[in-house]
Point group: C3
Chain length 424, copies 3
């Protein structure tokens, strides 16, 4: 899987993504090789609650030349060099005027910052502070060949993978950052590969909805068109972001605080990881801000590796291929699938013989010879399941109360379901 | 304010207060200069639930003289010398008979104790144990010119300061102890000065009820006449007692344990004080015993400085002007006003745009330029308020969940209310 | 009581008990001297939910002789030597065949294990591992004169001791283990002696049901015939087992986790014992497995001394008279009676004068002289009871909230009931 991941990473890396534009179209086209994407063009100006879809932004070329004609900065080298949503400009100017439109990180002088000005018309460049310090008094030629088209559109995509139930699981990721690795490309990659695995899984109970959107305005649009449906159908959702590095998992809970994803992720991490972080919901962050706004309050959390804000490379040119690990990304995909396995098995089980214990011996499930040590792990797992399957406990409750891991419970549950003693 | 406090303290100090009598009338008359008191005379014998208002007690003179005519003890020097509710006597007697009617504190030999016998007819004197030890064999002349008038009355007072709502806040204090400072005079003084401040406050939401009564029988009378009304209207009440010294605050919770005053006082102390004590309700103490009796169970707690029972000067002649601090009393008044400010702002707020976030940028409330560190304290305070204002959270909940202090929340809340995004 | 306990122990010890058989009849006949037992014969084959009552097992003789005619093992020396429910056999065989039917404990080489094969036809012997190692190559004569009668019956017994209420307390113990002391005989003995004490108690509120049954199949039978009645009437039940030694008490909670027995045993142990263990319910153990099966979910816990599984002598020949203490058994009986006293007094009390405090002084319940230290333990106990008796708190709640022990509360409660201030 790692080779495949890297191949897609390398193809997606150089593309200039933003809220809108051809880069987003190209990204979704490549992801379509993995996911049966339904691609939607949302016209600029479309009203979504309190917001409007912005004009479509595209860039052909952007650079600064010194008086000798040397390119001081070139968008074609690194798309972070251009302020997101820069308006076009072609003009000569002195150093002092130029400096007012250049953004740097004095504390991280070798990193190019990532900056945007989506909702105020502005032009600008970003560069390493050390390079900035070397700029000399000169007359500079500034050229940004960008367009902001009010008749354009915002490109989003989704796909619904039907299960036997209409109840839904949402996996939402974003596609609006230019060349950054953990805080962007890891998200759509993990999401696409989960889709790929899930598609092969037989007898899915849940219906899975995958969403690929630009952050904030994308989820606001998606909720304006699908919010009521999600309110009716959604049992669990996860925002997939910052899943590229090999750091410990961080789970940010949904606003509800005890929803299905909260309980499922927490028990899986507890039973399979030595170190991990669980954070309460807070209304700053990624698209959970919209999914968990008070009018929707959907059961949507976010399972990350190292969280945005928490690593120095965040929102800079150093959140690149060196920062991430394809081995870790593969493990993250498997962890997501393990959590999905909890969703798929988390029924409120019912003992069909709830009055006293069934006679397990005559079914070959209980030792006929009794001495000091007859309680095997298999017997006590059965006993816990039988005792707790009163229709009020789901798989997670049974695991918590019995202190038997989910992975140990599922095969015994299946055996008892097969024997007709337990019903889902 | 301190000078003013001290001036009133000095005038009230020498007055002999008790359950009834002219001392209580005089006390309320002086307090009337600060508070628009409604003074009520409740006839002796009036039935209040299981109790009857006692006869009215007044004292003209009380002393003990030795055989040489020297006054060994004189009520006019310190009104603690006389057992509260002493019956009249004029008789000569030997030392041994006299001693049976003298009360001292052997463990605190320089302190005159405070003692009463309200409901059993008795005469007696209180004195410092060291003085008591010096009493010689002699014939003593004992004179108590007191009266217990079954046709008298008990004097109580209240005042209701109307707000825009009929919902009420109760501030109750007592006026039945003779010359003691923290455990008596600090209470009516703090209460009167709070009234004074509140009266000036524009747009009060709550209606405030101030009550000045003798302890126990006073609150039993007040509940027998106003209990049902309080049950209907009361949102919060505080017993103001032992607020004279500079010790840490002690808050004794209401019987409900999680009522509005409990939550408000606790969050204010937590966010503004380094050291303080929160105690669960117990049915021993002051007038909360009556307000929180099971038939009423009103939301009434008690915010003190050092609690009764917890300081050695309690109920002795040393609970005097030296024990208290007018600077501390002023701070206590401000602390009460801070708590009242929580009451006044503790609405269940509603976000008028609950579906996704409102676009704050177009209202000038959000930075248009986005880079690594765009989340200012102002932005995250807004985000918390917007997210939690779903009609189920009040100001205190929002502060607890967001970990943003009440004082930091209120101005941002007001800004959002002004913008029409949040409603009370 | 100790002498009496020992006398009955010695008579019951040698009897060979099992699921069925004459040993059980004889055991119940001896216990009938102490308890007014209602003895029931349940025919073999009787269907009880998923189970059938097994054939009746009786043993006349059982031994192994070597070729010289020496008895290597003899059931008449220790009834543990015979595998429970052994089928009959009379045959000669070599050592290797014999060994396949001998059970030992290699880790406890001097102990004879206790083993059974109730539901699979089998013969076998149990012996100390050290003796087993000394068996030589020889031709052995094996004789088991047992019978398994499909037309026999299972013998169980109960008795219902009426109280003024139809609400019930269940005390259940088992009578199916051969000669073992703590994990068998201590249970029926403690149960019988509790019955004896309770019978003498006047004005019992509760109706008490005592049940003496073989473990598992006995309780399954009992629930198949009395389960619905118990569901209607039962307020508390306790399984009496492993109560013979002097170890700390272990209480295993009912499945409900906060039922009357759970709360009562916990508060009594907390207030009277320095060291004790409280365990959550688990579906392995004794007859609580059936009483607490999800279809019944009865409020049944188990108060033991050292729990089964937790002592090395468990289910071996060393769980004998040396292992137990009649002094400890007597204390255990008293502890059970203390818990029963909580059941009997655990009403939701009501203050008949809930508006303010009643005037206790005029009833002689309150000091008329008031000074610094008027709050005696008696007064504060009254105040707590008066304040909490609002019909929502029972005795246990009052004790927990007031931190006053049950033993200190009961006399003051009775005084207030006598005065008509508190009602049950």
């Amino acid at each position: 899987m790692r080779k495949e991941l890297e191949k897609y990473f390398d193809r997606l890396w150089p593309i200039n993504r933003s809220l809108t534009g051809d880069g987003n179209r190209e990204t979704l086209k490549i992801l379509s090789e993995l996911v049966d994407l339904n691609i939607i063009e949302v016209p600029s100006g479309t009203k979504c609650f309190d917001w409007n879809v912005p004009p479509e932004w595209n860039v052909k070329e952007a650079w600064i030349k010194d008086s000798k004609g040397n390119k001081v900065i070139d968008f074609s080298n690194n798309n972070l060099h251009l302020l997101g949503y820069s308006i076009p400009i072609y003009r000569k100017m002195g150093l002092s005027e130029l400096k007012e439109n250049i953004y740097t990180l004095p504390d991280q002088p070798d990193y190019i910052p990532y900056a945007t000005s989506y909702y105020k018309e502005k032009w600008g460049f970003c560069m390493a502070h050390n390079q900035f310090l070397k700029l000399e008094q000169d007359e500079y030629e500034v050229f940004i060949d960008s367009s902001l088209n009010p008749k354009g559109s915002m490109t989003v995509a989704d796909v619904v993978l039907k299960g036997s139930s209409e109840r839904e699981i949402l996996l939402s990721t974003y596609i609006c950052h230019p060349s950054m690795a953990s805080n962007e490309l890891s998200g759509p990659l993990v999401s696409a590969f989960i889709y790929n695995q899930l598609k092969k899984m037989p007898n899915r109970f849940y219906t899975y909805r995958f969403v690929f959107i630009p952050e904030t305005i994308g989820s606001i649009y998606y909720l304006s068109s699908h919010g009521e449906e999600l309110k009716q159908k959604l049992d669990a959702g996860l925002i997939i972001t910052c899943v590229g590095d090999a750091g410990n998992y961080t789970y940010k809970k949904s606003r509800q605080g005890n929803s299905l994803p909260d309980r499922s992720v927490e028990i899986v991490l507890k039973q399979t990881e030595d170190n991990y972080i669980i954070k309460d919901f807070c209304p700053m962050g990624s698209d959970e801000r919209q999914y968990c706004s008070p009018g929707f309050n959907l059961p949507v959390g976010s399972l990350m590796r190292t969280q945005y804000w928490e690593y120095p490379e965040y929102h800079t040119s150093r959140d690149n291929k060196d920062f991430i690990s394809f081995e870790a990304i593969e493990k993250t995909i498997l962890k997501y699938l393990e959590i999905i396995n909890v969703f798929e098995n988390n029924f409120h089980f019912k003992n069909t013989m709830p009055f006293c214990e069934p006679q397990l011996g005559k079914r070959g499930l209980y030792p006929t010879f009794s001495s000091k040590k007859s309680n095997t792990a298999f017997v006590s797992t059965m006993m816990w399941i039988l005792n707790l399957s009163d229709g009020t406990n789901d798989l997670i409750n049974i695991s918590e109360k019995s202190k038997i891991s989910i992975n140990d419970l599922i095969p015994v549950l299946n055996k008892l379901i097969e024997e007709g003693i337990i019903m889902r």
